[in-house]
């Protein structure tokens, strides 16, 4: 198979899914007397001046960074056939604890940031570890336990925010933790725009971007180029084959969930270190669930997840313009939900097409009528 063909096969399912999702959402909108073309026009309108356009791109990338990390966290577990629905709770709890610790200490710059990152990673990994321990020792399905731990984490976070970690004045409209001092804040990357001759937007590009890229590369190498990644993949594809070749299934579950949780701990940090500098009642929510969608769309591969995150970032950016143009902003959620459903269906179809091609490649005979019939009704 040529490289071009391989790329084509890899792109086939996601592109098909996005197109199908757009068609379905357009039909839904049209049925409810919303003009889909006007909606898409608003979504694609990045503004007139160069500064506005660069701002739009910065907003998209800033949103894509946490989505990318969320997708990565889900994908790590997914590769092993584990479903980490608990990413939402893991990052929220990790972020509030990291915010409180970051506000409580004063260290020189990089060390301060490193401490915040480490705290977030450890908290989220431990929280995810509960799921793994319950699964291997008590046989509790990770789906159920991580859903329950989501609720518990959100309850704990709201308790911590209103109780011990409260930093805002009594009676303030938004409750928040104390602000992280200057040394623990991560500056923006807007110098880049000047360097490549673009207008400098009012919004800062998150300084977390290089860290996220490093994490992505690290995970990609870990999954594709190491013994651990191989064991993980085998455990996901065939648990019996894995255990026959000497992989300790229970240890793999724990290691994978710890890794998945560790990545999940990073999700809240771009926002925390880049703009908010404190955890508030209205801190970015829902990234964990969107991460599942992003991971599916990116087919659990870091590069794919990066593109999926950018797509979702683009969709999320259009929330405000849509509201300004007096369109229902929830169109975005519908498109995202349809994309997920379409992508899993498309993945399944692509898998079957690939298998049929492989069967055709190995078999010398022409397919029997029975197989053709089955292919038709499948």
């Amino acid at each position: 198979m040529t490289a071009l063909r391989r790329i084509g096969m890899a792109l086939f399912a996601p592109v098909l899914a996005v197109v199908v999702a757009l068609v379905i959402s357009s039909l839904v909108m049209a049925a409810l007397q919303v003009n889909p073309f006007r909606v898409f026009e608003v979504m694609l309108d990045f503004g007139e001046t160069p500064a506005q356009q660069v701002t739009a791109i910065v907003v998209i990338v800033n949103r894509a960074i946490p989505l990318f990390l969320a997708g990565l966290a889900v994908a790590v577990a997914f590769r092993m056939g584990l479903f980490n629905i608990g990413v939402e709770g893991q990052y929220r709890l990790a972020t509030i604890v990291a915010a409180a610790v970051g506000a409580a200490v004063a260290l020189p710059g990089p060390l301060h940031i490193l401490l915040i990152v480490v705290v977030a990673v450890v908290v989220a990994a431990l929280w995810a570890g509960i799921v793994a321990v319950l699964k291997v020792t008590r046989g509790v399905s990770e789906v159920i336990s991580s859903i329950m731990l989501n609720f518990i984490a959100l309850g704990l976070a709201s308790y911590l925010l209103t109780g011990p970690f409260r930093g805002s004045e009594e009676g303030a409209s938004i409750i928040s933790t104390a602000e992280i001092p200057e040394s623990g804040q991560l500056g923006g990357l807007n110098a880049i725009f000047g360097a490549i001759g673009l207008a400098n937007p009012p919004r800062q590009l998150y300084g977390f971007l290089p860290i996220a890229i490093v994490v992505g590369v690290f995970i990609a190498i870990l999954l594709n180029r190491t013994r651990f990644g191989y064991d993980l993949k085998v455990s996901g594809l065939s648990p019996s084959a894995a255990s026959a070749s000497g992989v300790d299934a229970r240890a793999m579950v724990i290691k994978t969930m710890l890794l998945s949780g560790a990545v999940a701990g990073l999700i809240g940090l771009p926002d925390l270190l880049g703009t908010t500098h404190s955890y508030t009642t209205d801190f970015t929510a829902g990234l964990g669930f969107l991460g599942i969608a992003v991971a599916l769309l990116g087919r659990n591969r870091p590069v794919g997840i990066a593109f999926a995150a950018l797509l979702f970032g683009f969709l999320d950016r259009s929330l405000v313009p849509l509201q300004i143009a007096d369109f229902p902003a929830s169109v975005v959620t519908i498109i995202q939900g349809t994309i997920v459903l379409a992508v899993v269906v498309a993945n399944e179809i692509a898998r079957r097409v690939a298998r049929r091609n492989a069967e055709r490649g190995t078999a010398t005979r022409t397919p029997a009528p029975v197989e053709i019939l089955q292919g038709a009704d499948a």
């Binding site: 629905i85 159920i144 209103t162 519908i334 939900g337 459903l341 899993v344 269906v345 499948a378």
Partner: protein
């Protein structure tokens, strides 16, 4: 030691007390368990003075909160017994609440019921389409449906309620135009209200029983009665009819069922659509409680329903017990934050019992562990007066997690549950 001769099929006698407690099949065991729980609650109520633990108002709230969970769990039962894991129950419930709100504000409560059930069934149809026809992973499809349902509900509200003369807005519908009737048991719970008198006297055990009974017999809604009746009805349908046998065979061994002429795909479709309809009915119930559709009304009850199903070992009676337990935990945290602290005392008593039991079986490590945790719970109970709201809010979820981690090893799911079945590939 004398050898005990037993005929095959009957268990050796383990002494009169053990026989009395564990003999006689699951029904008698369940009754004993219920009685023991009642006594335990009475003791804890008497010691802690937390009347809310067994008061009729808590019990009524528990029943009220158990019903949506139970309906979702019943929905899960149909779908999982046919071999389709349904994480999408939450989303179908959300669709149910929206459908109920939309039909209810225009045509009253009966239409609300129909609307919610229809919307839930639509969610089920989508899940069936993805999992059965397209062979998508069940959990993935369920998660997608949850995301989609929230989006659809918001989208429709934004379109239909923002400029609506009847009221409502982006996150809620106009109020229902009529409320469903409710029924009280004559004499005992209404009119002379004998149970209410008994409950007010705070006599050990008797008042507790009265409180529990009054709670479940006074002011019960039509839908509650329907939901309670659905539990034995589901049992009869699934375990005593040919349809039920066929449906369950799809969840145990679809290839074998197929070879015997069961239309596996159609069966799964029917099961998942029923599942969505029941989850939707759970949503309708929530709308009935509030008299209005509100966003996030479900609050994860679909997921708890799923947990109740697992806790109940994929059986109607078990899931009803699970729903009751979670409903009670939920009611307690809503009614009284101090009563939740009394639960710690309950846990302490239970764990102390476990410690003694393990000690008599000479399992010292387990006994010491249990005793240690019992001591910890007791200390916490003595030290804490009132838990902050953030912590109390997850009482039912923590209960779910604890119960599952204690019980999940004895459970057996349908054999082909969650496996994608493709005709001719097995």
């Amino acid at each position: 030691m004398s050898t005990v001769v037993t005929s095959p099929g009957t268990r050796p006698s383990r002494g009169p007390i053990t026989d009395l407690l564990t003999g006689g099949g699951p029904v008698r065991r369940a009754l004993w368990l219920a009685q023991a729980a009642l006594v335990l609650f009475s003791v804890v109520r008497a010691i802690s003075g937390e009347e809310a633990l067994t008061s009729s108002s808590t019990m009524a709230a528990a029943l009220l909160l158990a019903v949506p969970i139970g309906l979702a769990a019943l929905g899960g039962l149909f779908s999982e017994r046919a071999g389709v894991v349904n994480i999408g129950l939450e989303g179908m419930m959300i669709l149910g609440t929206w459908g109920a709100g939309y039909a209810g504000y225009q045509w009253g409560w009966a239409a609300a019921l129909v609307g919610g059930v229809l919307f839930g069934a639509l969610g089920g149809l989508l899940h069936a389409l993805a999992t059965v026809t397209f062979g998508v992973d069940h959990v993935v499809s369920g998660v997608a449906i949850n995301i989609l349902a929230a989006g659809v509900a918001r989208f429709l509200s934004e379109l239909l309620y923002t400029d609506n003369e009847a009221g409502g807005g982006v996150t809620q519908s106009p109020a229902l135009s009529s409320n469903p009737p409710d029924i009280s048991l004559p004499v005992l719970s209404s009119g002379p209200d004998w149970l209410g008198d008994l409950e007010g006297q705070h006599i050990f055990l008797i008042s507790d029983v009265a409180g529990v009974l009054r709670g479940v017999t006074s002011g019960v809604g039509v839908l509650t009665i329907l939901a309670v009746l659905l539990v034995p009805a589901s049992y009869l349908l699934l375990w005593r009819t040919a349809f039920g046998l066929r449906l369950r065979s799809c969840g145990e061994n679809p290839a074998a069922a197929d070879s015997l002429g069961v239309a596996v795909y159609r069966m799964k479709y029917i099961a998942v659509i029923i599942s969505g309809a029941l989850a939707g009915m759970g949503g309708v119930f929530l709308v009935f409680i509030a008299g209005i559709y509100r966003e996030n009304q479900t609050g994860g009850r679909g997921f708890i329903g799923l947990a109740a199903l697992i806790f109940g070992n994929w059986r109607p009676g078990g899931l009803a017990a699970g729903a009751g337990l979670f409903g009670f935990a939920d009611a307690l945290q809503l009614r009284s934050r101090t009563a939740v602290v009394a639960l710690l005392l309950l846990v302490a008593v239970l764990l102390a019992g476990v410690a003694i039991w393990q000690a008599t079986r000479r399992k010292l490590l387990q006994a010491i562990l249990a005793a240690g945790f019992a001591g910890l719970s007791l200390t916490l109970y003595l030290l804490i007066d009132e838990l902050p709201p953030g912590i109390v809010s997850f009482t039912p979820h923590l209960t779910t997690l604890l119960v599952l981690s204690l019980a999940s090893q004895r459970l057996r799911m349908p054999q082909a549950d969650g496996l994608v079945y493709r005709r001719g590939e097995h």
